[in-house]
Symmetry: C2
Subunit: 357 residues, 2 copies
Amino acid sequence: MKKHNFYAGPSILPDYTIENTIEALKDFAGMGLSLLEISHRSKQFVAVVDEAVALFKELLQIPEGYSVIFLGGGASLQFCMIPYNLLGKKAAYLNTGEWATKAIKEAKMFGEVSVVGSSEDKNFNYIPRGYEIPADADYFHITTNNTIYGTEILEDLDSPVPLVADMSSDIFSRPIDISKYAIIYGGAQKNLAPAGVTFVIIKNDILGKVERSIPTMLKYSTHISKESMFNTPPVLPIFAALQTLKWLKNMGGVAEMEKINIRKASLLYDEIERNSLFKATIPAKEDRSRMNVCFVMNEGFEQFEKEFNDFATEHGMIGLKGHRSVGGFRASLYNAMPYESVEALVAVMQKFENLKK
Amino acid sequence: MKKHNFYAGPSILPDYTIENTIEALKDFAGMGLSLLEISHRSKQFVAVVDEAVALFKELLQIPEGYSVIFLGGGASLQFCMIPYNLLGKKAAYLNTGEWATKAIKEAKMFGEVSVVGSSEDKNFNYIPRGYEIPADADYFHITTNNTIYGTEILEDLDSPVPLVADMSSDIFSRPIDISKYAIIYGGAQKNLAPAGVTFVIIKNDILGKVERSIPTMLKYSTHISKESMFNTPPVLPIFAALQTLKWLKNMGGVAEMEKINIRKASLLYDEIERNSLFKATIPAKEDRSRMNVCFVMNEGFEQFEKEFNDFATEHGMIGLKGHRSVGGFRASLYNAMPYESVEALVAVMQKFENLKK
């Protein structure tokens, strides 16, 4: 039976990425060796990194003056690298969920942190608005998509201070005005690659302004000056990222991808609204994530939660169980998720509704 | 033509590892999904991590009281994590090459560093002996195998203070008396896995003795308490590491592997001694690495360096060029390198000698 992969991350990747990675594991670039066992300094792999950086810049229309680097350690390591490199005296953070909360915790080790807005009062089920960003902050940090709670900041915010965004789970899902950001970073294991690589898009002139000494590996300038080759980078995840970038370009780029993502998310949210058994966890439509659609059993149908989960699993749906902080269900609709898989999920929801009528 | 992979790292892996990883990219654990797109919290992948930890403990006979964790970021990130977690006032380091030098540089940001011995005076072509380790040091750090220069510490040293060892390039190449060490760490991309995962074997009671606040991701206790699942770990490299551990067990374990490694290294060093065209760069036989055999053209034959490199390449030898700090050639003979490949290299050296006679 066809499986539909709704995991929140690591998550579905394009067949193109998986197939090309399998081929490279058999023979990388005609070298007669597996991708798993080639030097990162071989000219064939250096070309992979160069092409991945070039496609990042092309697909996101990254202006001059920005660097793109690939690191290990995950977005969680960025939670301390950001303040290590940027926080002189004070930073502003928006608290929209668990990952934002973790980023705030790390920043507090390096200086004053002003949490300018938070949706913690309602279990992070909305995006705060109308807050003020202190003009004397070194930067303002946001998490654009909140994987666990299913909210998303769908516009490029105006900030009076350098804007830093964790886009782990929505990078490449829509066009972004990069010039509004100082740093965009993210773990690659949603819209880009298998787990193990973190991308950082960084405006070069934001660096070098703090006084503290920074361990070499935690200093962005180390990796920028060595073009992600200061130490051995995660070779396979970078290769796979390049395949996804090529696929994305073939699909028409981020503008085209946004249209598909809107169609997929609308299809599912509309069904949740229509279906008497379910309800969305995010009340305000404009705050609903296109990447992670969270829903629970409607009032009066709570007792069917486990049954629906089993029913969906039997129909080939994988990874639908919601995060324990929210409960219910979470359907992650990343770029690689086909429209047909969302249709299949909707059909299962309708079939289950008919059973319970 | 059969390729012989002499890369220093990322480097040759067992066919078993590569083939099983390819199969898992097609369908992981019968889930109907690729290893590249499964949740790290799926029970199937949690089982992979558990089995990898268990095999680490079994193959290295790790005593009670130690943890094994898998991290991202490379051994280079450990260069700052070690002092972050362990350096209260003073640490002792042995300087045996470029990686040791980098580790020393990071430690100096956290406290006093006593370099108790160094072979820098002779371009790191020997292992220092007869040094004294200060009894008031928080730990003593060594690099057991020096990939670039081709020296290796082949015994488990006695240290009056906790011993910390970077074993990136010789872990699993011989039995180790783990009880003599407080921490053993390494990038996995030599004897274990593709690039992207770092292992740390850590004596639990060594932690919690420094006063400073440590960023969450840089704190060993974070990863120990979450069994390498605090954040998304590098899924594929950990899966591949498990395959290599299984292969190693099938091969008879580290004691058997040491015998094979001694045979391989002896075969090549003996040929270098015999062959009039070449000479080893490490004079003392007891300091010569079994993992990285470094050699240069003999006096009077320097002009043939490029020609031999091309000749070897034409005969299927890959990655033989020495590091720029040493020049000449470096044949890396990691666990996965078959004896037959060393024989093939020796045959090429003899053929080249006959051409020049």
